[in-house]
């Protein structure tokens, strides 16, 4: 999403500071992440277990977000599921970023490599995202590992294009030519010229991929091709909630979806802010 027109309309009344905004979003995101990851292991023993005496309760003081048909506390389960989602999302987004980096740099190695990466990109973009996700998750036999690999292998093309473009621009620049002429090694050039330009792009790319990763993970789990049903996960919780929604138990679906949305939202905002920081080149789709 290009925001190239944004500066034009910047009015003196409300100055925008991309750095400050990125900082703010980053702090919120990290705090949220920390709370989820640290909170889940702190859940009291038995918080996730079934309780026949507390079936399908609407929110109340003892169960602030209600319970499901098996008497499990929605608040505790949502927290545990979010932790699971965040872990899977971090792994998958990290792996995807790595794939993007490797392929993006590989594309600069020569014409043949560039064509090869271009072909791979066309292939990855040739199927609807979710269909390709299903195919890869199926190939991996489903499960948590399947989700991670599926997300990693489907979310790289956009970032990879950005990195390839950046790398090519830098490689063709005068100062790289001068460095090479001065006898600097490729590695030296990579470390001193390439890395400073690419690292912000990589960080922004990772943050942008992350919300997609957790949303797609939830989708795969929802249709039964993702995280194993016995582990708490947002997708599985929402799939189970479908049954209870019909009986009017809206709270079973409300909390898990809202939690996932909040995590995705804050990372989406952080990604947007980082992308603006790292310059307009990262903003094009």
């Amino acid at each position: 999403m290009s925001d190239a027109a944004e500066p034009i309309r910047a009015r003196p009344a409300r100055p925008r500071h991309p750095q400050r905004r990125a900082m703010r979003h980053g702090m919120i995101a990290l705090a949220l992440l920390g709370a989820v990851l640290a909170g889940a292991p702190l859940l009291p023993e038995g918080a996730l277990s079934v309780d026949a005496a507390a079936r399908a309760l609407a929110p109340r003081p003892a169960h602030p977000l209600g319970t499901d048909l098996l008497g499990r506390d929605i608040a505790a389960r949502t927290l545990a599921a979010l932790a699971q989602s965040v872990q899977v999302g971090l792994l998958a987004a990290g792996a995807s970023t790595l794939v993007a980096l490797v392929l993006g740099l590989a594309a600069t190695l020569g014409r043949a490599a560039d064509h090869l990466v271009g072909g791979l990109t066309e292939l990855a973009l040739g199927l609807p995202h979710f269909v390709l996700l299903i195919m890869i998750a199926f190939a991996m036999g489903g499960g948590t590992a399947g989700v991670i690999v599926a997300v990693a292998l489907t979310h790289w093309p956009r970032l990879s294009r950005v990195l390839r473009h950046e790398a090519q621009v830098i490689a063709a620049s005068d100062y790289v030519a001068i460095s090479r002429a001065l006898g600097r090694s490729r590695l030296w050039v990579a470390r001193h010229h390439l890395a400073p330009h690419l690292v912000p792009q990589i960080v922004a790319g990772f943050v942008v991929i992350f919300p997609h990763a957790i949303l797609h993970e939830a989708g795969l789990s929802f249709i039964g091709l993702g995280i194993e049903p016995h582990l708490p996960s947002i997708g599985v919780m929402l799939a189970e909630s479908l049954r209870e929604i019909m009986a009017g138990h809206w709270w079973v679906a409300a909390a898990p979806g809202l939690g996932l949305m909040l995590v995705a939202l804050i990372f989406e905002r952080l990604g947007e802010a980082l992308r603006r920081l790292s310059g307009p080149a990262g903003g094009t789709t």
Binding site: H230, I245, M246
Partner: protein, 521 residues
């Protein structure tokens, strides 16, 4: 295609269902066959075969009675079934059903590679219009289950599109099938079985949740519901809990851990459960009524074997449960004692401990594992409930105790679970149980000349007075509960006497659909 005589009869019968009292019926019980309604590919496993009739059928007591067959005998060597057909059966296109159609159906199904297992059939032959012979490669009495489930298709018109445009001689014919949504059928006017009280029956598929919504809005007349929800039936409907042999039990590894592995590398054997005293004590200790109350909300019955209440069940193989004193005596006598005073027993330094695996997504099995572990701690056995995925269970089920479930209207299941030849094959004999005497009984049952005579052999395999797979003998399992299958039924619908349900909730309830009645105006 019609002959003049039958045309008149059909015109008459066509008028009948349209008379007073006939009404549409809407069922939301799942059971949609993705692959369509082709018996040759396996349609018609449980419940009503709808469009087809079979040679035999099981009545409400699960005894075999004739459907298309008026007479059926097995040769002295147990190899040839000779079946005499009724002469008046017609397919829903009006053509007569003959022995040639039966032979065609059986021979085709054997080759089809579908979900009808006819591998033991050597050849089906039509002797004349109403007599057919089915020759087997070896005596196998469980083949009668095929006689009771394989619907007969017309040889003249059977083809690729049969699954979606079925033609049979059963109680119904297809009006419309919107795949993934619903199947609508109407009474087949050519059916030989009598009158059906409904002008149309709709099977709503979609999701289970949608079915419950339909019940709440008064559209559906019969809905399968999960037990946890069953008690809250909407207005105008009653809760129906149907007894089943949909059982759950603890499957024990039967051999010591000797370092062996399956072909796939899964370890085999468990030194604790390999001791019969441990398995016997578990059977003695379990309070199955309490497990029913805990795990099934009371909607079930205690289980003592794989086929409780079916004709081939042997109640004499069971032993009384809920007797911790007897269980502890058994353990003491076998040398399992609590030497270190931690409340748990050991023998020769080996603690009486094992894991109890259950598929973690299954809350019923989880509750059973937790409940059983609780009870076993009372007699000094440390059973540790462990949730796992099916993949993990598949890798551990030969060396750990697993909460498994079976329950078929077919005694071949008894054979698969206990015969040495099926040790380690799929999920069958997971414990690698081998007892030559039991194997011999099972083989004798399969070789019996007639289904009735086979029953005594099946029962003897469970307990013959000296040995058997049942708790009184080798105690290969500790069976725990039989689930009830729960439905919401319209106050106006009378489904008549129901069979004990098999493993699988939903469609089996339609078994006697043609005789259901509507009791309101």
């Amino acid at each position: 295609m019609l002959r003049p005589l039958s045309t008149a009869a059909i015109a008459l019968s066509l008028m009948l269902p349209a008379g007073a009292g006939a009404r549409p019926l809407v069922l939301a019980i799942g059971g949609e066959p993705d692959g369509g309604f082709d018996p040759i590919m396996g349609w018609g496993h449980y419940g009503s075969p709808l469009f087809y009739s079979t040679l035999l059928r099981r009545d409400a007591a699960l005894d075999l009675v004739g459907d298309l067959a008026t007479d059926w005998t097995l040769s002295e060597d147990g190899l040839v079934w000779r079946v005499t057909l009724r002469g008046d059966a017609l397919f829903s296109d009006g053509t007569p059903l003959t022995a040639a159609d039966v032979a065609f159906t059986y021979n085709t199904a054997r080759e089809a590679g579908g979900l009808a297992d006819l591998t033991v059939l050597a050849e089906a032959r039509a002797l004349d219009a109403t007599t057919v012979e089915l020759e087997l490669t070896e005596p196998r009495i469980t083949f009668v289950s095929r006689l009771a489930t394989l619907g007969i298709v017309p040889a003249a018109t059977y083809g690729d599109d049969h699954a979606r445009h079925p033609v049979g001689s059963g109680p119904f014919r297809m009006v419309e099938w919107r795949e993934g949504e619903q199947l609508v059928v109407e009474p087949n006017p050519y059916w030989h079985g009598g009158e059906i009280a409904f002008e149309r029956v709709s099977f709503v598929f979609g999701s289970e949740e949608a079915g419950q919504a339909l019940a709440r809005t008064g559209i559906a007349d019969l809905v399968a519901v999960p037990p946890a929800m069953a008690d809250a039936a909407p207005r105008g409907m009653k809760v129906l809990h149907v007894e089943s042999v949909d059982n759950r039990g603890l499957a024990f590894p039967m051999v010591p851990r000797a370092g062996g592995t399956t072909g796939a590398g899964a370890p085999i054997g468990n030194d604790v459960t390999a001791d019969r005293a441990v398995r016997l004590a578990i059977n003695q200790a379990l309070d199955r009524e309490a497990l029913v109350a805990l795990a099934l909300n009371g909607h079930g019955r205690p289980a003592t074997g794989p086929a409780d209440g079916l004709p081939w069940d042997n109640p004499g193989a069971a032993i009384p449960g809920n007797d911790p004193a007897a269980a502890m005596a058994t353990l003491e006598a076998a040398g399992w004692r609590d030497g270190d005073g931690d409340g748990l027993r050991e023998k020769d330094g080996l603690p009486a401990a094992f894991r109890v695996l259950y598929p973690a997504g299954d809350s019923t099995r989880q509750a059973l594992a937790l409940g059983a572990a609780d009870q076993l701690r009372g007699i000094g056995i440390d059973a540790r409930p462990t949730g796992a995925s099916w993949d993990e269970i598949g890798a551990l089920m030969h060396s750990e105790v697993v909460v498994l479930g079976w329950g078929a209207h077919d005694p071949s299941e008894i054979l698969y679970l206990h015969h040495g030849a099926y040790a380690g094959v799929d999920y069958y004999n997971t414990g690698h149980y081998r007892n030559p005497v039991v194997d011999a009984h099972l083989e004798a049952a399969e070789a019996a000349i007639g289904f009735e005579p086979s029953l005594a052999h099946w029962q003897a395999a469970a307990w013959d007075g000296e040995t058997g797979f049942g708790p009184r003998g080798d105690a290969t399992w500790a069976w725990m509960v039989n689930l009830d299958h729960s439905y919401w039924v319209s106050d106006c619908l009378d489904p008549g006497p129901l069979q004990v349900h098999p493993h699988g909730h939903g469609f089996p309830i339609t078994h006697d659909l043609p005789s259901w009645r509507w009791t309101c105006e």
